[in-house]
């Protein structure tokens, strides 16, 4: 699916990023945290570039990525991603 969307729409198309985010959630549910985090980094970067930090989808991906980083005990990285959130969202995190 994601490959087809990449080929048709491009890797940074919002629909491609949306499918990647949903796959990352699946990985989380399967306890595949490392895989999920790797995917979410790409989604977060793509959404930040494409949609901006104010977009709810960007914040959703960033929020999940921060949580994952904490689970994986990558606190520095979590902080790095938290800094990319707008101030109000960062406080909420």
């Amino acid at each position: 699916m994601i490959e087809a969307q990449r080929a048709k729409l491009g890797p940074d198309h919002p629909h491609t990023l949306e499918s990647m985010h949903e796959l990352a959630v699946l990985h989380v549910e399967q306890d595949q945290h490392q895989q999920a985090a790797e995917l979410l980094v790409k989604v977060a970067e793509g959404r930040l570039a494409k949609l901006g930090d104010e977009h709810p989808h960007t914040q959703e991906s960033l929020g999940l990525l921060i949580d994952l980083c904490k689970i994986l005990d990558r606190l520095e990285e979590a902080e790095k991603w938290r800094a990319k959130l707008p101030r109000t969202e960062a406080v909420r995190q």
Binding site: A4, E18, L51, G52
Partner: protein
């Protein structure tokens, strides 16, 4: 609505009373019990006084031209008559001389819908008067509103009026002052009978429109500019013919349909006689549907008086009915209906569903009308498809039309007959086989028209539209349209913008966004280049429409920042009313972009506004209403407000299925949105069966890599994930 001038015969309230009480009221009036006091400027009109052989019984009303009394003819013939005394300011001798000149012709008028004018004379005070048949009734517009006549009933009444005017015209009599207050409707044995009054009076009294003759000594208007033809308003023009009455009939029909006049009184009377003349002679009236939709709250009343709804009335007007009054009211009289009977015939055409004389002179319009009438015979879809191709063929043939083009005509005729008509006429043909007929025919286009590439282009264009609109197969549409554009470009001539526009739109429908964007960009660049060469800035509705299309395509490509300027730049054209489908299209795209960019509240607000406008001006039930509801439902879903999303999406889903059917390309996204909602509502079984249904339909008509199909599958993957069907989910999402 413009207030009617007091009517000939009686004031409305009084008339209603007269109509209800009949002879009793007449008798009472005769005895002077209900007699009204004549105004001071009409010393001759007191009850009991005489004017010539006539005894005044009471005053019935006062109009722009004079005062009307109920009178009784004395002598051997005793009968009730209406006696109209013309207001001061006329040269009585000239008036009577003019009337005398027409007296013989007037005597020949014998029609059930024309009130007789018996006589004319001069009062002792030197004012001309006319003796006419006394008609009890309401002016036609008031009658129609009072009895809440439907559009069809109004048209039937109008036809009777046309027939009466036709009768007079055949006798050489022009009315010159046709207006509602000169057409009274009496009720006889439950039948409404319109009667035209004042035939012969206007010609005697009215003169060309000049400062001197327009106003009475009291500064009141003679005649009625609202219904006056341009040639009557032109003071240099003495050449008035029957087409002047056709114009007035057009205004009357306009008013019967919409409840308002083509020009409001403020516009008409705002600046004296020059303003009146300028408006009548130079300003094109707004279309009836436009006037109606701009009436605001009053439109509701207008619709109620016609026992319909605003949206239905506006749609019927816009579809074609309004063409009739507009043709009758053409400034150039040679462009109007040639006679009142022709006008009546065109009303009959409308009522029977035949093509209108006022309609476009295209073969496809006439064929469409024919097939609409014979839908049962021809079969629904087949009718639409065949007419599209035949229309094209006929128009192409017609356009060529020369003897030297016979070879091309022959090729067209052979193709039409052998590849379309004969298969359609085959004894075993079924409407479901229509696609097959077109598939086979389209395969032969290139070989059969190898010597006539422009004809192939024209036909490919028609085939492209058929595949796009009727078969909902954007891919085949694109291939036909690409070939059409290629041929037109190769053969030179006019730049094929129409073809390119439809090609690009079809590419968007097929999910080929890059190709669509390239074609739209090429068109924009060409227009801008041409305009620059002409020293002008690019502009116009088409230019901005293409820009909006490009913006929308960029939005679908996820290039939101680039899309914004194009989408937002397209201004709303002044003639595109609120609620118009173009407002839905262009402002809807702004809302869609806002939603994509995550500005949910702004998007929601704009969609609500669009829906409100459509509800105000259109009858609900159009697929666009359901498309807006779907977008609102999606926004609520995205924000987690499932309670607000549910009724919107359920309604949109039921409505769009009914309106467009299950297989239509616009139906599927609504189904997907509802399935996503049901997933979030944890109503998994229902969500899954809906996904199955919608995806089946999408897969039939979409390529496997269509972006909408891919996204729908991704949503299904989410459903599987929520059901803990991880393997299924992975298969779809990976």
């Amino acid at each position: 609505m413009k207030k009617e001038e007091p009517i000939f015969g009686a004031e409305p309230d009084r008339l209603m009373r007269l109509m209800k009480t009949g002879l009793e009221a007449d008798e009472a009036e005769e005895e002077g019990e209900n007699a009204e006091t004549a105004p001071e400027d009409a010393p001759t009109g007191k009850p009991g006084t005489r004017i010539g052989r006539y005894k005044i019984l009471s005053m019935l009303g006062e109009g722009g031209m004079g005062i009307v009394y109920l009178a009784e003819q004395q002598g051997s013939i005793r009968r009730r008559v209406a006696l109209k005394v013309i207001k001061p300011g006329m040269d009585s001798k000239r008036v009577l001389a003019r009337f005398d000149a027409e007296r013989q012709a007037l005597a020949l008028l014998d029609h059930p819908n024309i009130a007789h004018v018996y006589d004319a004379g001069m009062t002792e005070a030197g004012r001309p008067y006319f003796i006419m048949e006394h008609v009890k009734g309401l002016p036609v517009t008031e009658h129609c509103d009072h009895y809440k006549l439907t559009i069809e009933q109004r048209l039937r009444l109008f036809q009777q009026i046309c027939q009466a005017v036709q009768h007079a015209h055949q006798k050489g009599i022009i009315h010159r002052d046709i207006k509602p207050s000169n057409i009274l409707v009496t009720i006889h044995e439950d039948q409404a009978i319109p009667k035209i009054i004042d035939f012969g009076v206007a010609k005697a009294v009215l003169q060309p429109l000049t400062e001197r003759t327009l106003y009475t000594e009291q500064g009141q208007l003679f005649g009625t500019p609202e219904y006056m033809s341009p040639e009557q308003a032109d003071m240099a023009n003495e050449d008035i013919d029957t087409r002047s009455d056709i114009y007035s009939l057009g205004v009357l029909l306009y008013e019967l349909l919409t409840g308002v006049l083509p020009f409001d009184s403020e516009t008409l009377h705002g600046g004296g006689i020059d303003q009146i003349r300028k408006v009548i002679c130079e300003t094109d009236p707004k279309t009836p549907s436009t006037r109606l939709t701009r009436l605001g709250e009053e439109a509701q009343k207008v619709a109620e008086n016609r026992r319909t709804e605003i949206g239905i009335l506006a749609r019927n007007l816009r579809r074609e009915l309004e063409w009739i009054p507009l043709k009758a009211m053409r400034k150039e009289r040679s462009e109007r209906y040639r006679s009142a009977s022709e006008l009546s015939d065109d009303v009959e055409n409308y009522l029977k569903g035949d093509p209108l004389m006022a309609g476009p002179l295209t073969a496809s319009y006439r064929l469409k009308k024919f097939l609409r009438r014979h839908k049962a015979l021809v079969g629904g879809v087949a009718a639409v498809l065949v007419v599209s191709v035949i229309g094209t063929i006929v128009s192409v043939t017609f356009a060529m039309g020369q003897a030297k083009e016979m070879a091309k005509n022959r090729a067209l005729a052979n193709f039409l007959n052998n590849d379309i008509l004969i298969p359609l006429g085959h004894e075993h043909f079924k409407p479901t086989g229509i696609r097959e007929v077109f598939d086979t025919a389209s395969e032969k286009l290139t070989t059969e028209f190898a010597d006539h590439p422009l004809l192939e282009a024209e036909l490919r264009y028609s085939f492209g539209r058929i595949y796009g609109w009727q078969f909902l197969d954007s891919e085949i549409a694109v291939s036909n349209l690409k070939r059409a554009v290629e041929l037109r470009k190769r053969e030179g001539g006019v730049r094929p913008f129409g073809y390119m526009n439809y090609l690009a739109l079809s590419c968007t429908g097929a999910g080929r966004y890059s190709e669509a964007a390239a074609t739209f960009s090429e068109m924009i660049e060409t227009i801008e280049k041409e305009r620059k060469q002409e020293g002008e800035k690019p502009g116009g509705a088409f230019y901005y429409a293409i820009k909006s299309h490009l913006g929308n395509t960029l939005r679908l490509m996820g290039r939101y920042d680039e899309a914004g300027p194009y989408i937002r730049e397209t201004p709303l054209h002044p003639s595109w009313d609120e609620g118009h489908w173009r407002e839905f299209l262009y402002r809807g795209r702004i809302a869609a972009l806002l939603g994509d960019q995550g500005h949910y509240e702004e998007a929601e607000q704009l969609y609500e506004e669009l829906l409100e406008n459509r509800r105000r001006y259109q009858d609900e039930g159009d697929w666009r209403d359901y498309a807006i509801m779907k977008e609102l439902g999606v926004l609520h879903t995205l924000q987690g407000d499932l309670e607000r999303a549910a009724p919107l999406l359920e309604k949109a889903w039921a409505g769009i299925q009914e309106e467009l059917g299950n297989e239509h390309g616009r139906t599927a996204p609504v189904g997907v949105a509802l399935a996503v909602l049901r997933t979030k509502q944890v109503d998994y079984d229902s969500a899954e069966s809906l996904f199955d249904e919608v995806l089946n339909n999408m897969q039939i008509r979409m390529n496997d890599d269509h972006p909408e199909l891919l996204r729908a599958r991704s949503h299904l993957g989410v459903l599987y994930r929520e059901q803990d069907r991880h393997e299924d989910a992975e298969e779809l999402l990976m």
